[in-house]
């Protein structure tokens, strides 16, 4: 058993794992402070993740990859944290968060639409002003009238992100288009996508808390829909539309 403490969205979590890999994966987030929550994984959790990833590959029409136990354990750890997160007014959200001048912008869309491509354009346009917070699965704390986006070790296949937290300025649904345009959208327009992209706990009580947090998320941050191509102008259009 491997044990150490890590910070997720400002909360110290003790991770007790079978394999050591998850600890290397989370190393940047190590904490010396006492934990407020403890996660322990076993072989059943790994089997569960294997089954889930198999079903997801089938559902999305991807070729199925046989993952290692240690990788599946990394997923199991984050799932347990995501199940707990609503108790901390926090959601796991699928999207790419980039900060410019210290303010966060979140882009969300189904896998393969081009979230990561779009935030790469932001880095090209804004250079050192831009910092990747998390390219895949940030944690969002929704409280006191604002949303804070946190970097986490779980930051996508290119490991883009860092251990910082930024206030979220806007949340944008990304779609592809020939030209670039951005519009404000209502909570009602955004809701189906927000529900699709948020982590849905298995526990109905945690799921209920998640829905209340999604309501607040839609209330506390500005919502947009972007049509974009893969030119740098896409980043400029999005930033100008969202910077307020």
């Amino acid at each position: 058993m491997f044990t150490n403490n890590y910070t997720f969205a400002g909360h110290v979590v003790e991770i007790n794992s079978i394999f050591s890999e998850v600890h290397q994966y989370c190393a940047e987030y190590r904490s010396q402070k006492p934990p407020v929550f403890s996660v322990t994984t076993d072989q059943n959790d790994i089997s569960y993740e294997r089954e889930r990833s198999y079903k997801e590959d089938i559902a999305e029409g991807r070729p199925h990859i046989e993952y290692s136990d240690s990788y599946l354990e990394e997923l199991a750890v984050y799932r347990k944290i995501a199940e707990k997160a609503p108790d901390w007014d926090t959601l796991l959200f699928h999207g790419s968060v980039i900060a410019v001048d210290g303010q966060g912008f979140l882009f969300t869309a189904k896998s393969g639409t081009g979230k990561s491509t779009h935030t790469r354009l932001w880095r090209e346009v804004f250079g050192e002003r831009a910092v990747m917070v998390n390219d895949d699965k940030p944690l969002l704390t929704v409280a006191d009238g604002s949303v804070i986006a946190h970097g986490t070790p779980y930051n996508g296949k290119h490991s883009l992100g860092c251990n910082i937290s930024v206030p979220l300025k806007g949340l944008c649904i990304l779609t592809r288009g020939a030209d670039n345009s951005i519009v404000s959208i209502s909570k009602q327009d955004a809701y189906p996508m927000l529900i699709q992209q948020v982590y849905r706990p298995s526990d109905p009580v945690q799921m209920h808390k998640t829905l209340l947090l999604v309501d607040k998320l839609a209330e506390f941050t500005s919502l947009y829909k972007l049509k974009c191509n893969m030119e740098k102008d896409a980043a400029i259009t999005a930033f100008n539309g969202m910077k307020g």
């Binding site: 079903k55 909570k187 009602q188 809701y191 189906p192 529900i195 699709q196 982590y199 849905r200 706990p201 298995s202 526990d203 109905p204 799921m207 209920h208 829905l211 309501d215």
Partner: protein, 86 residues
């Protein structure tokens, strides 16, 4: 029958939404109009199609056969996505 444990009815301020938890294979969201929302509310407790129709007659100004058809249709749709526990 009633709404399955793996679904939660939630209002977004206007419509009643039916959202699945992580345990369900269905990962969408059901957005309902007033009558479907009413049916979903009825299904939060154990009930029958007949009881729902009776409740709807009190609530909506529509002929019984229309309401019966609506209830049948909505319940069938919910059943299809695994949202009904018998």
């Amino acid at each position: 029958m009633k709404i399955s444990n793996s679904f939660i009815a939630h209002s977004d301020g206007k419509d009643t939404l039916l959202v699945s938890t992580g345990t369900s294979d269905f990962s969408g969201l059901v957005r309902s109009n007033a009558s479907a929302g009413f049916i979903i509310k009825c299904l939060e407790k154990d009930t029958t199609e007949n009881e729902i129709v009776e409740a709807m007659i009190k609530e909506f100004d529509a002929p019984r056969e229309i309401l019966e058809r609506d209830v049948k249709k909505i319940v069938a749709q919910l059943r299809k996505i695994g949202a009904i526990e018998e």
